[in-house]
């Protein structure tokens, strides 16, 4: 479906090139589907939460559009429109706040699979969660600088790190 549209909109692109790009897109979609299905097996709660959040957001946005149509057509007055719209906006804010709970699920899933922390009970995990921050680093970023004082335990969630040690003699 995308291919004829592309050829129509950009007639100067050769069909062979479009085919090449589409093949790559199809391959990427295939990889993404495999990744999602693997993720679904490993972290079902996360996937479920993501799907629920997306579905609810789409429903609320549709509701908001329908409400505007009704207002434009004169079916509801301005006061009712404002009140109903405020209600929907509040629901959307609530969903965004629910994402914080999603982060908690991710934290628990990660730590449940980490041998050092897997024996902790729910209370201990919650305490740990309250003192944890998820950070992202680019390739080559320095996580620990030699000679600096470490004040946080850094636990890798994804990716890998090269640690280089020196002893007191600098060896």
């Amino acid at each position: 479906m995308v291919k004829p549209k592309l050829l129509k909109e950009y007639p100067f692109i050769e069909e062979e090139h479009v085919k090449y790009v589409m093949d790559e897109v199809d391959e990427n979609i295939e990889y993404a589907e495999i990744y999602i299905s693997e993720l679904e097996g490993t972290y079902p709660k996360i996937i479920q939460s993501v799907h629920t959040e997306r579905a609810t957001t789409v429903l609320l946005k549709n509701k908001k559009n329908a409400l505007k149509d009704l207002f434009d057509e004169g079916c509801i007055d301005e006061v009712d429109y404002a009140a109903l719209r405020k209600e929907i906006d509040q629901s959307l804010v609530n969903i965004r706040n629910e994402s914080v709970a999603l982060e908690d699920i991710r934290f628990n899933e990660v730590f449940a699979h980490c041998p050092l922390f897997s024996m902790l009970n729910q209370e201990e995990l919650s305490e740990l969660r309250s003192k944890a921050k998820l950070k992202e680093y680019k390739k080559g970023a320095v996580l620990i600088k030699m000679g600096s004082r470490i004040k946080t335990a850094i636990i890798i969630v994804s990716g890998s790190v090269k640690e280089s040690f020196k002893d007191d003699d600098g060896k």
């Binding site: 934290f107 990660v110 699979h113 980490c114 041998p115 050092l116 922390f117 024996m119 902790l120 201990e124 305490e127 740990l128 003192k131 944890a132 921050k133 998820l134 950070k135 992202e136 680093y137 680019k138 390739k139 080559g140 970023a141 320095v142 996580l143 620990i144 600088k145 030699m146 000679g147 600096s148 004082r149 470490i150 004040k151 946080t152 335990a153 850094i154 636990i155 890798i156 969630v157 994804s158 990716g159 890998s160 790190v161 090269k162 640690e163 280089s164 040690f165 020196k166 002893d167 007191d168 060896k171």
Partner: protein, 168 residues
Amino acid sequence: MFHMIRSVGCVLDAYDLTYKEDAKCEAKARNALKAYEIDESAITELINTNFEFKKLWFKALFNYCCHLHEGVEQIYDDASVRSIRKIAEHSDIVSLGNNQTFDVEHGAFLFQGQLEFSNTTQVKGSFITKPGTVKSLAPNTVLLNIVPPNRRELSRLPEREYEKGPSQ
């Protein structure tokens, strides 16, 4: 220089965090990565309240302790990273109160506190290299009671990625 590749689930430089010392290592991201940073007070609290966690935490430190403090080779002749990891897995973490005694069978490593052994005082970072009775001279002494792993089992261990890198 001693290199290690750390992947998912690893705690970086747990040694300096535990002893509140300046970092003796540098850690660089090999690729784009995500990591949780947990305040050290949360880890200290867990070490003080959950003995199972304390055992695993100190066992995880052992490899780097062996690199910093010589002596493991006097207890177990194969002091490679792989065998040290296996020794830590097989050994027990023992926590002693003041004046408490403990019989060391093969050897031990002192993580924290003080010990009296053969009329000498052993401090943090010491290896007890022969069998004997140790007496704690501090209220919170932690040691690794070394139990050498079975040699045959050791030879069957697959080589890990970080052990293929530059040697110590």
